[in-house]
Symmetry: C2
Subunit: 176 residues, 2 copies
DNA sequence: TATACTTCTTAATTTAGATCAATGCACCCC
DNA sequence: GGGGTGCATTGATCTAAATTAAGAAGTATA
């Protein structure tokens, strides 16, 4: 599940930078988006719906890439906020690093594998959201990301799972 | 939203075939999976959960590609059934058509764009499943796929949206 | 034409999880 | 050290949608 096979971090257009916890990397409505390759730290993306409620779309720890591929592909302003949950060192990448002309055959193939894994992850998430109860969701999360729970506040995990913090708290309580 | 830019249908390894409505193209547990490019007709993929309930993962009408990229990427047997909702003419593709060595630079780039769109679609679906009410889900579906509802039984649309057929029926009733 | 599926609708009941509300703990900083 | 502010827990209520159950309407089969 690691993204360490992503080599484009050597891209000359890349700029490596350090951000404090809480820094907002992307706001809803932004255009000309970047993607972020996380060297160290933890970043998340989320939306705010019409009722003002936050929904975590994904977490990106070390070696992950985060960004709004949807907005890039369909060429509209992003719906996603992205911010740092920890002090984070990351590399900003141009979104078109995926399919730029100058990329080598091997780089394109690596990117295809990367995107394929992203599709796989999202497929699992969709099926989970359609069929799993709150308890099952948390179990799947623990299974998929055994190291993350210690680093993320529970209300954000709940948001990622599509349940309320209260519901998650109850599940964890009765699970002993 | 069309996939007409997918040119690999000229792949010499491709075999074009005709299937009757109801034909099962893929069973849960299958390995060595194919992908299917739909020339004419309508195909769907779905899972059956632990309680025996079906969940439609996606519909593929003309010019779409369907297959289990998740199982291919992570190299395990598929969870998805795939079957024909109409008499269907399709082209079977090897799964590694995505990143095969012999592909040209342009073909790789086309495939990247294709996968990028798939990621975008799934992102929207995830956010929808996390935040939208039953009514909102149906409205989004009508908006995204204005032509499909006439071709698909309502209980399958409900399944795709993550709601029951009864709930969808009520929504449609009071929407006049 | 009759018979049997399949799909859709409608209504009564139940339930998982949301919402609302109160309390308890940690950390912060000033 | 005292007073916030943010987060987790617990319990009481509420609600959207699931479940259950019946029947209606359409379509295919024989």
């Amino acid at each position: 599940m690691s993204h360490s096979d992503f080599l484009l971090v050597d891209d000359p257009s890349a700029q490596k930078t350090l951000f404090k916890k809480g820094t907002v990397l992307q706001n809803k409505g932004d255009v000309h988006l970047k993607a972020f390759y996380i060297k160290k730290g933890l970043v998340r993306s989320y939306t705010i719906d019409s009722k003002g409620k936050q929904h975590v779309f994904m977490f990106a720890p070390e070696e992950w890439i985060i960004g709004d591929i949807e907005a890039y592909q369909y060429e509209h302003p992003t719906e996603l906020f992205i911010d740092c949950l920890e002090d984070t060192e990351l590399i900003k990448l141009k979104m078109d690093h995926l399919d730029q002309d100058h990329l080598s055959h091997d780089q394109l193939k690596k990117n295809l594998r990367l995107l394929g894994r992203r599709v796989g992850l999202l497929q699992r998430r969709v099926l989970m959201l359609m069929s799993a109860t709150a308890g099952e969701r948390y179990a799947l999360f623990l299974n998929d990301y055994p190291l993350l729970p210690n680093r993320i506040p529970q209300y954000m995990i709940a948001s990622y799972l599509g349940i309320t913090p209260e519901a998650l708290s109850k599940i964890r309580g009765q699970k002993t």
